[in-house]
């Protein structure tokens, strides 16, 4: 085992590696469960979901994809901002601290998404709730060796690999995982695992696995993703938005399953005694009617066409401008969830086609 790379030492390029045999993973997880809440992909009713692991046997590192991304551990669908004991006297308590958490089995697309979220919640006014949860969280990611299904387009979005953002990163090399140790905290986790140093054979297998995987993933965008922001800025008036608006059901499935969406609503709840209660934030969606509606009924994004445009502008441009990461990581979840087949690949390629044909989209 080579010494861990220090997070603050950018010069050191040597990758710190360790090897864990597959049969030792359950014990590793079991050991972690004693100190951490562990979230990871489990099979439920014929699909996969990131859930809190109770039994290491549930963990399915070979999962294709999940309906909701692992984001839910960092930005839960509903989260207490604070509690109050007496509504009238303003006795406010900060939310209870959540347990230290390890998110196990994160794919690289989702890893990129988490890096974006980290930036969003750190920029400007740092968000105390997100940040305190993030500080309590370690990430163990896994290398994807074949596409989840026909909907994913991570390769086009540049998220098929990641060289930071994880504490540990696992690559399946047959009967073992090669562990790339990303941080000291990650290194410390390995105290709970029975790992060994890599052998030349391990390295050979790792290199082979990593180089063989790329051809398995298709490019699905017809143009280079670096052109996406400029393509979108030229596409504000595209007729495509109206077409999407006619089809879109405004069911918000696309944003609800997206690993990079972070908009929220804030709601108060109080018990029947009207004194104790809480203020929470809950996921919201720009696709819903009420999202940009103010009292009196004026909706600043009234048509579904404008809302779809806003969504794709955010994904491919606005978020990049503000946070230096693309707002779409190519996971394909929204495409899978959409009943009327509105997909980022389809939309982006169509805008590109319109531009090519018309000079202007």
């Amino acid at each position: 085992m080579t010494p861990a790379k220090k997070t603050d030492d950018f010069k050191e390029v040597a990758v710190s590696l360790a090897i864990i045999n597959k049969q030792d993973v359950p014990t590793f997880v079991r050991n972690l469960l004693r100190f951490y809440r562990v979230g990871g992909p489990v099979e439920t009713n014929g699909h996969y979901a990131f859930n809190t692991i109770r039994d290491p046997a549930e963990l399915r590192l070979d999962y294709p994809t999940t309906i909701l991304p692992p984001k839910k551990f960092l930005l839960p669908p509903k989260e207490t901002l604070f509690e109050f004991d007496s509504a009238h006297e303003f006795k406010i308590k900060p939310p209870r601290l959540e347990p230290r958490t390890i998110i196990f089995g994160v794919h690289t697309c989702d890893l990129h998404a988490i890096q974006l979220l980290d930036h969003v919640f750190e920029a400007g006014h740092p968000d105390p709730n997100y940040n305190s949860r993030r500080r309590q969280t370690l990430i163990v990611s896994v290398e994807c060796l074949s596409p989840c299904d026909e909907y994913s387009f991570c390769k086009s979005m540049g998220t098929l690999s990641a060289d930071e953002g994880y504490d540990l990163h696992l690559t399946d090399i047959g009967d073992a995982y090669a562990i790339d140790i990303g941080t000291d905290a990650g290194q410390n986790l390995l105290e709970h695992a029975s790992v060994r140093s890599e052998t030349p054979t391990d390295m050979q297998r790792l290199n082979a696995v990593l180089s063989e995987k790329w051809p398995r993933f298709p490019y699905r965008l017809d143009f280079d993703v670096s052109d996406l922001p400029s393509l979108l800025s030229m596409s504000m008036q595209s007729p495509l938005w109206n077409e999407l608006g006619e089809r879109c059901l405004a069911c918000a499935s696309c944003t609800n399953v997206c690993p990079t969406c972070f908009c929220f609503d804030v709601r108060d709840e109080v018990e029947l005694n009207l004194t104790h209660g809480q203020r929470s934030r809950v996921w919201d969606s720009c696709q819903l009617d009420e999202f940009a509606t103010v009292t009196g009924g004026h909706n600043f994004r009234k048509s579904r066409a404008l809302r779809q445009r806003h969504r794709f502008m955010r994904k491919g441009k606005y978020i990049l401008d503000a946070h230096h990461h693309l707002g779409c990581v190519g996971c394909g979840r929204c495409a899978r969830a959409c009943l009327v087949n509105i997909t980022p690949v389809g939309v982006f390629n169509e805008l590109y086609r319109q531009k090519e044909v018309g000079g202007q989209p």
């Binding site: 109050f84 006297e89 406010i92 400007g124 006014h125 720009c286 999202f291 004026h298 806003h310 503000a322």
Partner: protein, 288 residues
Amino acid sequence: MIATTEKSLAQYADTENHLFMPVAARITKVLPLTALEKVFTVQLPEGLSLDHHPGQFVEVSLLGTGEAPISISSSPSRSNGNFELCVRKVGDVTQAIHRLQPGDMLGVRGPFGRGFPYEKFRGKDILFAPGGLGLAPLRSLINQVLDERALYGRVLILYGARNPSELLFKDELEAWSKRDDVELMLTVDRGDESWKGHVGVITTLFRDVSIYPRNTIAITCGPPVMYRFVLMELIGKGISEGNIYLSLERRMKCGIGKCGHCQINNVYACQSGPVFSYPEIKGLEEAL
């Protein structure tokens, strides 16, 4: 918990991880203005000051009911440890605020957003064009300007409301109208028996004003439908786009650039606004 030396509310929130948790402030005075609007004078707990800029807003909340962004209607020049909010009763939170009495508590977060860069306005003529409740945020700047009156050129206020009973701050309007260093013009969409003044939408007032466009700053705030028309008038008067400022309303939940509701294309109104210069939003499809 709260330091004894004076600290701004914003500093307090940042250092105490209090970003989402309102600070309890006390209402010291309630002044009904119209059937729908009341002005609340609010005092922060000892040791905290608001330190706001005209044009900024606070998130006001009642626990269990919810939160609403409300402009700070008083000027920093008259803070006195207090600030004023002019609240129109339209929904859950605002109705609940209207039920409050002096002595009651109110949660406050902020101040948020970017206010008016009024230092830049010094030496210039200022034309205020508020419509309806739009006077509430502009009043903060108007009074700031009036309190340092010598630093500015002409002050023109063109104010329109739907009918005479909806005119806000009537006492102040009265006082302004009596000053000879303020040019106040009022209009209502529909008059009544007692109304002797101008009748018509706010844009009809512009016909009767002459200004020196190159030295004029124009500021407007009002209901969503108003902006386009007022802008046409202002530009028609020759005011350069860079000298036109608007305060925009959007749905808002957090006030700190996260929740996404107030986005105007790629711009968060709660961060880059609510006050914008016209060139800043001119290219934004969704702004007006």
